[in-house]
Amino acid sequence: MSIKIFVPIDSTALSLGAHEVAEVISKEAQAKKIDIEIIRNSSRGLFWLETLVEVETPQGRIGFGPVTPSDVKSLFDADFINGGKHPLALGLVADIDWLKKQERLTFARMGITEPTSIDQYEAHDGFQGLKNALKLKPEAIVETITSSGLRGRGGAAFPTGIKWKTVLDTKATQKYIVCNADEGDSGTYSDRMIMEGDPFVLIEGMIIAGLAVGASQGYIYLRSEYPHALKTLNEAIYQATKAGYLGEDILKSGQAFHLEVRRAAGAYICGEETSLLESLEGKRGLVRFKPPLPAIEGLFGKPTVVNNVISLATVPIILSKGAKYYQDFGMGKSRGTLPIQLAGNLKRTGLIEKAFGITLRELLYDFGGGSLSGKPIKAVQVGGPLGAYLPESQFDTPLDYEKFSEIWAVLGHGGIVAFDETVNMAKMARYAFDFCAIESCGKCTPCRIGSTRGAEVIDHIMQGHDVKKHVALIRDLSDTMLNGSLCALGGMTPYPVLSALNHFPKDFGVDAKDLKA
């Protein structure tokens, strides 16, 4: 029988040469007349070990990484397929501390299955949530989600069940489920991993959402920067349709659900839900006024659930194992788990799914291993380009929506970007304004003009022009943007700007005494 060898097909693995590794393994095995089968699995999310090659043994899968094409010959020489000794050997993958310490619920299958194999998805508890949902009334599905405590994982953390209830209670001939897959925040990649690595879990979550609110059509609005996710999703939708999970009559239940992927076109603002809906309708992505809420008048004016990929991908396990199972994880009002993404200047980057409550320090040092450069970590940005920069003195904050809000920070989509001491925080504050100016939809003045003026004022401060006056001006401008912008782009750009200024005034050439207005 041939020996199974796993080489991930996730695009981060590919960006480090996973295709080449698979090719060289295959050639080497052929030359040595060793019977192997190469399986292209999803990534475990231990990205610092990519390309992570796994070999199936009677004891379980053993890992080798990070493997480059030039390591392959020595792996064969060491008889790696029979667990031979090699400097890259990691032992049983499931026993790697970094993985073992996690609580993988949404990412349970990650790294284990082949992304577009529906048989493997079913064999690993797939579609159990949907089968349970089909036995429930819509109200009961919504109630399960509400009592699980699931909050929107895109960043806004709005209770998913309440959103669904609004759509369920709004009468209409047509309703929609829209998946926000426009993952534009720097430092985040959990949506991409799900779509490339376990697409059926997202599809299942969307079907359940459709049953819960009475929607028969779903759209996945996918960022154009993710071409591999596009191919994987389309293949998975094709498989799911063929197997009877999508279409006019889901599993012969008499209920319909159709699903289609729509490509975005590189506008960060389209991650904002109303701008996303405009874009899906074929228009410029201008933010809409609220109310009306999308739950009442959304896509094409119809009641619409707009949820992030991770929120929807978490629905199946809640329906499969029950609201209480999920609710038992977490702290305070932050229930369940959060897929945390370690990025930037860290030794061990990757996907960590943990119950809420873990501290930044544990993530940065126990998991992350400190900075890759070996220099002290000066600041971390949590929650994407609109998230605050946190200094070392705040690293003991537990990951919890409310605890973060107490220190004027956000968890956002769970991305953590670490910077070492070489970073200039004034430059990062200026970048935040620049980014806002580039990505502003232009509809409201605080965002459209404030971003450009803000960058100019930062320049004045950095050049030492009338510092006290300009610091006061930045605070005044930030106040206008915070309170006067239509959406989070203008409304949250002050988070990175002011947190950088308040925590790192030296980088701006500002004396602590000049900080206050």
């Binding site: 985040t188 899906l280 992505g285």
Partner: protein, 165 residues
């Protein structure tokens, strides 16, 4: 010597492509973005001379079509080089030295962002996050992402592109 397309005139062949795309997508709800993607996938850009046909098929004004094309960073109105090299400028890549990488690439290619090398081989573009933040800094070449890019790696990638015809 590279011959560039005269973009004020579209070849009959390219017009056929545009009209075929219009036929494929005109009845779809919210058709404009999928249609523009299809045209750009086939031609490499969205020719402005095609706006009137797109507009009339979707009952839009030419101004509305122009507004959508220019709103989105992904859509281009001019023929790009044979390859597109996008450099990530977002925070995670900045934390790993993307500023220096960007300067090095611009110097190596002799072009700024949104410009094409004189031999027509590479168009350079900025991009804000490729979702490869665990292995920064990253660049994307056509549809493939490359992570942990240093000078040596980018030199190799560029020379591979230059060698391609």
């Amino acid at each position: 010597m590279e011959t560039f397309v005269n973009e004020s005139i579209l070849s009959p062949q390219d017009f056929k492509v545009v009209n075929q795309c219009i036929e494929n997508y005109r009845h779809m709800p919210g058709a404009l973005l999928p249609l523009l993607h299809a045209i750009q996938d086939d031609l490499g850009y969205i020719p402005q001379v095609a706006y009137p046909n797109i507009a009339s098929a979707l009952s839009l004004s030419v101004a509305e079509v122009h507004g959508v094309v220019t709103f989105y960073h992904h859509f281009r109105t001019h023929q790009p080089g044979r390859n597109i090299l996008q450099i990530c400028r977002a925070e995670s890549c900045q934390a790993m030295g993307s500023d220096a990488l960007e300067a090095y690439i611009k110097k190596t290619l002799g072009v700024e962002f949104h410009e094409t090398t004189p031999d027509g081989s590479i168009t350079l573009e900025p991009i804000y996050c490729l979702g490869n933040c665990a292995c920064s800094p990253s660049v994307m070449i056509n549809e493939e992402v490359h992570g942990r890019v240093d000078h040596k790696k980018i030199d190799q990638l560029i020379s591979d592109l230059k060698g391609k015809t």
